[in-house]
Amino acid sequence: MNATPPRLELHGISKRYGTLLANDGVALTVMPGEIHGVLGENGAGKSTLMKIIYGAVHPDAGEVRWDGRAVRVASPREARALGIAMVFQHFALFDALTVTENVWLGLDAALSRTEVQARVAAVAAEFGLEIAGDRLVFDLSVGERQRVEILRALLTKPRLLILDEPTSVLTPQAAERLFAMLRRLAEAGCSILYISHKLDEVRALCTRATVLRGGRVTGVVAPATESAHSLSELMLGAAPAAVARSAGATSADSAPALEVRGLSLARRERFGVALEDVHLEVRAGEILGVAGISGSGQGELLGALSGEDPRAPAGTVWVLGRDLSRAPARERRALGLCTVPEERMGRGAVPALSLAANTLLTRREPIARAGFLRWGTARRLAERLIERFGVRARGAEAVAASLSGGNLQKFIVGREIDAAPRVLVVAQPTWGLDVGAAAQIRGELTALAASGVAVLVVSEDLDELFEIATDLVVMARGRLSPRIPVREARIAQIGQWMSGDFPARAAPAAGTGGASGVEGIDGVGAEVIARG
């Protein structure tokens, strides 16, 4: 019997980083032309495993077989020679170079620039990934950049294509197009390794899936035959507890605690996004979720809210009825607006400093008269936060870098919640965290809203927003969609909005124009909903 050997086989792969066992005796089998999912939550060891397959990391133990032969993949170059191509989660692109040059760098060959250009055009046409070769990468949108990554991988004529969390930067519709492309690739004989933590994607796309948890394989299944529940159990060990949703605004007539009126802001960064006429309101007790794919202007909006970007025109940002558009961060905090930024290390906390010192970033209790510091007060404050929010750390003197992502996020979010704000603005609250920490933080946010605080959550994780938010808006290309209560929202419609396809906001009513304006939106809106 000459059965076709598996395209890729891993046996007993182990890798240790210091005290952390990232991969523990992992086995994996991918047949030719198979779309194989690798499922696991953050920290389960998926990335390490992929790096081993791709040759960027060497395993401590275990065997790799390619087309039935034992191999040692010692470098990405060797992996490419075998026919393994990787599309990274965080793109390995060079902003100041053109698309063609970026692709060229991913090819080992002695190809000339013009040859590469021609081949790029050919493959792009074949798979529907059109992109102009002489465009500079920094001009591209996130979705376009991913296209370049994929093109680069495809040009190596791979026999195994690895994709690491590819849809985290795509709208649901764009994800569908990606899946179609992947299916065609698989039909042509290329094997695909699809890494994700999103259950429904894996169920929709993959013929088989290997589930990782804590560095070990907990199951190899055919996802289509499994339920979301059973897959969750393999991934997490147990079904996650449901989070109680906030009841909603304490009083619908009360004035909004946070209001943004007509905020337009030119872009500041090289690849920034300009904000266009943003309007939003958050009332006490509400959680307003701002959805959107990465790079839609969330960072810019947050900067204007937190005070890090001082350029907001007067009259655009209102907190508790006061115009804080031009106020510095310190003043905003004093008036009850606290923020949690999307980066933990280096922005929400200083990695090299102790937790006690990190309290001083946003809290003023340890500052005595004449600007002297009371370190005892800072330590006690840190200890209180550690205890109240269940932060696993060696104590107030522990350096922030020594905490795990989840614990540091608990500390940072806790630091702001403990400041008793009236308005809390949070960005990517549970990005990259394990399920336990994520659940705790979401619980803290809903409890906070229930206690009467107005909460604004910006997140790229739609599931999260559907879980905790009371209302949703979508940010796309610097504009904000209409607001919709979560229970009325549908994924398809939100997905459409995420690509920018939503009706423009009506101008404030002027005489009879107001009514017709609203009508206009409704008309379009109904159409949109019908299509979605």
């Binding site: 961060a329 980066e343 280096g346 970033l361 600007g371 002297f372 510091l373 350096v399």
Partner: protein, 365 residues
């Protein structure tokens, strides 16, 4: 040019997964290990160098490490040199921690001396003891003004402070030359490029009669204490540090990078100018083109070797002062070139950087 990471030069942070004997080293011990190792390497290379030049290594090393500490008079000489080194290095430590790379302290030193000289010349022959205070203050202000140029150009035009402050060093040297060859030349000085000898009343008061050490050294001690308080016990110092190691966190916290820039440059410029004033009114007693001996650059090394920490700087300034004196002694007594001092200084810094990196690597593994 992009921003730096001063945290790499200050005492290293705790690593997340220490292993082996190296990992048992606390951050404190590791911080101490590199400077000592670097010193040992420098001494070793020095011994080899002496031998290569046909001079007895032990004797030469004695010039550098034993002779300068031998008696009161020798210690007094150490203090004379350590004072400006410490003063400038304290200011630089504050600036470097804030990620403001004031490499032109030498220029601020010179301008401080020029300002002090201006006060002396203006006060005339019969001025009273108050001139001492005035010239010291003028020196600090002169240094601050020269540093203010750098701050303004960086604040307003984003011009890189490393290059601007360095260019201003050359400008300051030429300014000094212009003054002592021209308008400030002593008419009775046989046409040498130098100012008049300062009147006795303007001299910085001595600590012990018969020896050259003066109250400037007490000032350096006070500045050490002040710098320590500022860096570790004040909110302003905290803001500077955060701005230096995590600028985005500083922006999140609302710390003003502009205020940090000006604070850092004013303090370091003022201390460097102060050192210049003390130098010209103390051991020199007049302004000549020989004023700049590279204290502003040596202080950079003093700051790094002292781990950007006030107490460490106190020790490393004494060490660097011993290098200077050793160089002079080995020239006069052994015929070695005085420029050896410069070689050792550079070598010490190199060795320190290498040891730092090696120690950090070992600890992380």
């Amino acid at each position: 040019m992009a921003r730096l990471e001063p945290s790499a030069l200050a005492a290293p942070a705790v690593s997340s997964s220490p292993s082996g004997a190296w990992g048992l080293l606390s951050a404190r011990a590791a911080a101490l290990l590199s400077p000592l190792a670097a010193l040992a390497i420098t001494v070793a290379v020095g011994a080899v160098l002496f031998a290569a030049l046909d001079k007895p290594p032990a004797r030469a090393l004695e010039m550098f490490f034993i002779e300068p500490l031998r008696d009161g008079r020798a210690l007094s000489e150490v203090a004379i040199k350590a004072t400006p080194l410490a003063l400038i290095a304290l200011g630089l430590a504050i600036a470097f921690r804030a990620n403001v790379w004031n490499i032109g302290a030498e220029g601020q030193f010179i301008v401080g001396a020029i300002a002090a000289t201006g006060v002396v010349l203006a006060a005339g022959e019969g001025a009273g003891r108050w001139v001492v205070v005035a010239l010291v203050v003028a020196g600090a202000i002169g240094g601050m003004a020269w540093a203010a140029l750098v701050a303004w150009l960086r604040d307003r035009f984003s011009a890189n402070e490393i290059l601007v402050s360095l260019m201003l060093v050359y400008v300051a040297e030429l300014l000094l030359g212009y003054l002592v060859y021209g308008p400030w030349k002593d008419p009775q000085g046989f046409n040498f490029p130098q100012t008049i000898t300062f009147p006795a009343a303007t001299a910085i008061p001595r600590l012990v009669s018969g020896q050259r050490a003066n109250w400037g050294s007490l000032g350096a001690l006070a500045a050490t204490a002040g710098a320590w308080l500022f860096l570790y016990r004040t909110y302003a110092g905290f803001q500077l540090e955060v701005g230096g190691i995590a600028p985005r966190a500083a922006a999140y916290a609302g710390f003003s990078p502009r205020r940090a820039l000006w604070t850092a440059l004013m303090i370091s410029g003022g201390l460097a100018g102060l050192a210049g004033a003390l130098e010209v009114a103390g051991p020199l007693g007049q302004l000549t083109p020989h004023l700049p001996v590279g204290y502003g650059f040596a202080a950079i090394i003093v700051a790094f070797v002292g781990r950007l920490h006030p107490v460490g700087i106190l020790f490393s300034s004494v060490l660097m002062s011993m290098f200077y004196i050793g160089g002079e002694l080995s020239q006069s007594r052994l015929g070695l070139p005085k420029a050896l001092t410069g070689v050792f200084q550079g070598l010490l810094l190199f060795a320190l950087l290498a040891c730092d990196a090696l120690v950090e690597r070992r600890r992380k593994r």
